[in-house]
């Protein structure tokens, strides 16, 4: 039985088993590839999307848990916090290989949507689930702080 999920404001009927991870629904069924596969176990954060505004790891979220909810991916994220984050990311040249950055940006955006003036500790806590093997962490911290100044 196809279920319908709403991604970036658009309804998509999906013909997949209910246990199919949302990540693969987004990537393989809807063919949106900005959300990345990194670990499949909710360990690296590359697959982070927003489910009703909350950051979640789509690699361990079954399709059944996403049905009827509103999903936002890197392709659709456009809140003031998201725009400030993306701009700061570009200005500070955060990305190196870039593969994890969709997830980093989704986590950072969720942080600033809830807290426009995070402390270093709050940034570290919010971003601890997102691995970057290029180790762009110094710039991620700076970019979040810089983006925050645009929101207050």
């Amino acid at each position: 039985m196809p279920v319908t999920i709403k991604v970036n404001g658009v309804d998509h009927p999906i013909d997949a088993t209910p246990d199919t991870p949302l990540l693969w629904v987004i990537r393989d069924h809807i063919q949106m590839t900005g959300t990345k596969f990194g670990c499949g176990m909710s360990l690296c954060g590359s697959c982070t999307v927003h489910l009703d505004g909350q950051p979640i790891r789509s690699c361990v979220t079954p399709l059944s848990a996403a049905a009827g909810k509103s999903i936002t991916t890197i392709e659709g994220v456009n809140s003031p916090a998201a725009k400030a984050i993306q701009q700061a990311w570009t200005e500070l040249e955060v990305a190196q290989c870039g593969y994890c950055q969709s997830g980093q940006i989704m986590s950072a955006t969720a942080l600033l949507e809830q807290n426009t003036d995070p402390t270093d500790e709050e940034i570290n806590t919010a971003m601890a689930g997102n691995i970057c093997r290029c180790a762009t962490y110094v710039r991620i911290r700076k970019a979040i702080k810089q983006a925050a100044t645009q929101l207050t």
Partner: protein, 745 residues
């Protein structure tokens, strides 16, 4: 990854003559790499600077695209709509090479940075070879170093032709024409034109001889030396395309079941259950295992989980890491093959007033790029086409051609962004690329996307080799270092690969001893030897290769000697580096910027390390603190780097930051180990831990001003960090560290 010619540093570093293997015979290298004959070996006969020669008839044809575009050489295409497409011969895997190479061309072309659009080069060794290798590929932090002149000449050539076109169009002498920011002008007459307007006419101009090209005086650089915005865009909105993101009509996703232990082979399998999974289309046997092909990843994974596999493990490794390390330690009791010997090591050690000895253990390490290994391939009657974060085209092209029994020219390779590599995508066996090619061959006509899961990637081998080092040193009664005897035990990366012929000399793999056998410190009696161990565990270059362990043993031990003779670690090193001004330069700079010698807060320690790799000099000071829970934290790292002319200072800083972060993972937590059955214990990021933002120190990078030719920055930031942190911990606790990852006792 590999060795670069070291001529650039000859003037300032008198040990350059001993500086490792050089690619003296490129023709052999290419043949070995590709395993094939004529087609590709033509490449090495082409003049090295520009892939196109001076055959003006041929060039005339190639200069002009159908749309009136201007393509003066293999690297530049200027279209009538004023876009400047630059063809990038090196892989962009995060290190910033698309920006660096573009800068070199745009500088001499005097293009507007905004009009530059880089694109990946196809596999074409003749045109796009790495001039340090004679083969097409990226590694060894060599992209900028090998291209510095070539890319500038390419740009200057195009500019000369644009100016010639303008001179004809405006009927003015070429010498009166100037070019700035993508605009060609004749000031007196007030003429000006953008490149695109001149493209068609420029394409009809003769290509100037390379010898006649005048490159800019560095004082006239307008782009080189500036932190220009990066050109690898699309990484903040999900639009950048990696191998994982390739879409194609009819594309099947495939996962492969590999043997659980290295050296194992498939005996038989039953795929009847796997084939019942909805979405699974096919199951095929390939040399490395069993591939399940499906319409999507999840179906392929479920299908793979249902395979019933019988492995022949008679040749598989069945020892654990401790047993392997014990074997290494036993070997270290006996002399190995000498890599270098100066003076009389035995007599000098016997006569030393103080004798100090230490040993160091290093585990296997996985690269764990965020994008697990993957490759898209399609085989049809024309040949094989590959889409990949392609790092060594010549090698993979030859390997695929051999495997499929086709000509290398029939292997087309599209280079996409790589989601990290750290050496892994430059596999000497073309492992995962061949896997994709075999699967594509089995389903000829259907494109396939091979996807490794994180578990496949972590357990897939091709690790940074495990190593054991033992060092003995002697000081005289004045505290002078008179003898250094180092023994290294580990597997050889190059042995048994195409690289053996020029990387292994007299039984010594240069990648096993680099950074140790050419230790810069002035020591009259000096000896390094090597035991090479053969094991089933596949190994490979991992960001900074041998330097990833030799920098640790040598820089921790030199610190120990300084302490043993009650000398300041920076002063002690400087005294031994009199003949190495660039080592001294970074060391003095980092000491100054880190306020070396000034008091730290209570519970903090400070340590230093300096190491040259890939002709780039890096020194780092790490500050650590003891935490309330008994653990330690790396608080801050100050880094000084001398990489010659700084093409893009911000990217150099980014690579130092990233290289430090990458090196902190093995310093603090990462290790791959085998259990008693010989199986890799780790599988994903919960047990193969890597650095997270919470563990990332603040980093300050200082670049030495230099007029020397530029050298690479992708790898050299990594080697000094682990020893700098260990030395800081010794400063803090007095404990000596003999093992990575570092643990307080």
């Amino acid at each position: 990854m590999m060795y670069t010619r070291s001529s650039f540093t000859a003037a300032t570093d008198n040990q350059t003559s001993q500086e490792s293997v050089t690619l003296s015979n490129r023709r052999d290298f290419l043949k070995l790499m590709t395993g094939v004959g004529t087609g590709l070996t033509i490449a090495v006969n082409i003049p090295p600077v520009l892939a196109q020669g001076s055959d003006s008839g041929r060039n005339r044809l190639e200069n002009t695209g159908k749309d009136g575009s201007f393509a003066p050489n293999a690297f530049i295409r200027i279209s009538s709509d004023d876009k400047v497409i630059l063809v990038m011969k090196h892989l962009e895997m995060g290190q910033g090479t698309f920006t660096g190479l573009s800068t070199l061309i745009a500088e001499e072309l005097d293009a507007d940075w905004n009009q530059i659009q880089p694109e990946g080069a196809p596999a074409d060794t003749a045109r796009y070879k790495n001039l340090h290798w004679g083969a097409q590929g990226t590694g060894g932090s060599s992209a900028i170093a090998n291209s510095f002149e070539q890319m500038r000449i390419a740009g200057a050539t195009a500019k000369t032709m644009l100016v010639a076109a303008a001179a004809i169009k405006w009927q003015v002498p070429a010498a009166e024409i100037s070019v700035k920011k993508g605009v060609v002008s004749h000031d007196q007459k007030g003429y000006s034109a953008r490149f695109g307007e001149l493209a068609e006419l420029a394409a009809q101009q003769p290509i100037p001889e390379t010898d006649s090209i005048q490159l800019k005086d560095p004082k006239d650089f307008v782009l080189i030396g500036r932190s220009l915005p990066r050109k690898d865009r699309g990484k903040t909105n999900g639009s950048a395309i990696y191998t994982q993101d390739v879409k194609m009509e009819g594309l099947l996703t495939t996962l492969v079941a590999h043997p659980p232990r290295f050296g194992g082979r498939l005996r038989s399998f039953d795929d009847s259950k796997a084939r019942t999974v909805k979405g699974v289309v096919n199951v095929v046997k390939i040399p490395s295992g069993v591939a399940v092909l499906a319409k999507d990843f999840w179906s392929a994974k479920q299908g793979r989980d249902l395979l019933v596999l019988d492995w022949d493990e008679s040749q598989a490794i069945k020892q654990d890491s401790k047993a392997l390390m014990d074997q290494f330690k036993r070997l270290a009791e006996e002399p190995g093959i000498s890599a270098r010997s100066d003076g009389d090591i035995n007599a000098s050690l016997a006569n030393a007033a103080t004798l100090i000895e230490a040993s160091y253990e290093f585990p296997y390490l996985a690269h764990s790029a965020m994008e697990p290994m993957n490759c898209v391939a399609r085989v049809n009657e024309q040949g094989c086409e590959i889409w990949n974060g392609e790092q060594v085209q010549s090698m993979d092209q030859g390997a695929v051609a051999n495997a499929l029994g086709i000509a290398p020219e029939q292997v087309k390779i599209n280079m996409l962004y790589a989601g990290g590599s750290f050496g892994r995508r430059a596999n000497p066996q073309s492992d995962y690329v061949l896997e994709a090619a075999y699967i594509a061959k089995a389903v000829t006509g259907t494109p396939i996307k091979l996807v490794w899961t994180r578990e496949d990637d972590t357990r897939g081998g091709y690790y940074r080799p495990m190593n054991f080092h033992k060092i003995r040193a002697g000081l005289d009664d004045s505290g002078n270092l008179i003898a250094w005897d180092q023994r290294i035990v580990g597997q050889s990366i190059a042995k048994g690969t195409a690289f053996e012929a020029f990387m292994v000399k007299d039984g010594v793999d240069a990648t096993s001893v680099e950074g140790a056998y050419n230790l810069p410190y002035q020591i009259p009696n000096f000896h390094v030897d090597l035991h090479t161990v053969d094991l089933q565990v596949p190994i490979q270059w991992w960001r900074s290769v041998g330097h990833s362990h030799t920098a640790f043993s040598t820089e921790v031990f030199i610190d120990r000697l300084a302490r043993a003779s009650a000398q300041d670690p920076v002063d002690f090193r400087l005294k031994l580096l009199k003949q190495h001004p660039r080592h001294r330069g970074v060391l003095e700079l980092v000491a100054k910027k880190a306020n070396w010698g000034t008091p730290l807060p209570k519970g903090w320690g400070r340590g230093v390390a300096v190491h040259k790799s890939f002709n780039t000099y890096v020194a780092q000071v790490a500050e650590v603190s003891l935490q309330a829970d008994g653990n330690f934290k790396v608080e801050r790292v100050v880094c000084a780097v001398d990489c010659g002319i700084a093409i893009n200072p911000d990217i150099i800083r980014a690579q130092m930051e990233g290289g430090i972060g990458f090196g902190l993972s093995p310093a603090l937590m990462s290790e791959i180990t085998l259990d008693e059955s010989g199986q890799v214990k780790q599988s994903n990021f919960h047990d193969y831990q890597v650095l997270r933002i919470t563990q990332m120190p603040e980093i300050e990078v200082h670049i030495v001003a230099s007029a020397e030719p530029p050298t690479g920055v992708g790898e050299p930031g990594t080697p000094p960090i682990a020893p700098a942190v260990a030395n800081a911990l010794t400063d803090l606790t007095g404990q000596h560290f003999n093992k990575l990852p570092l643990k307080l006792s």
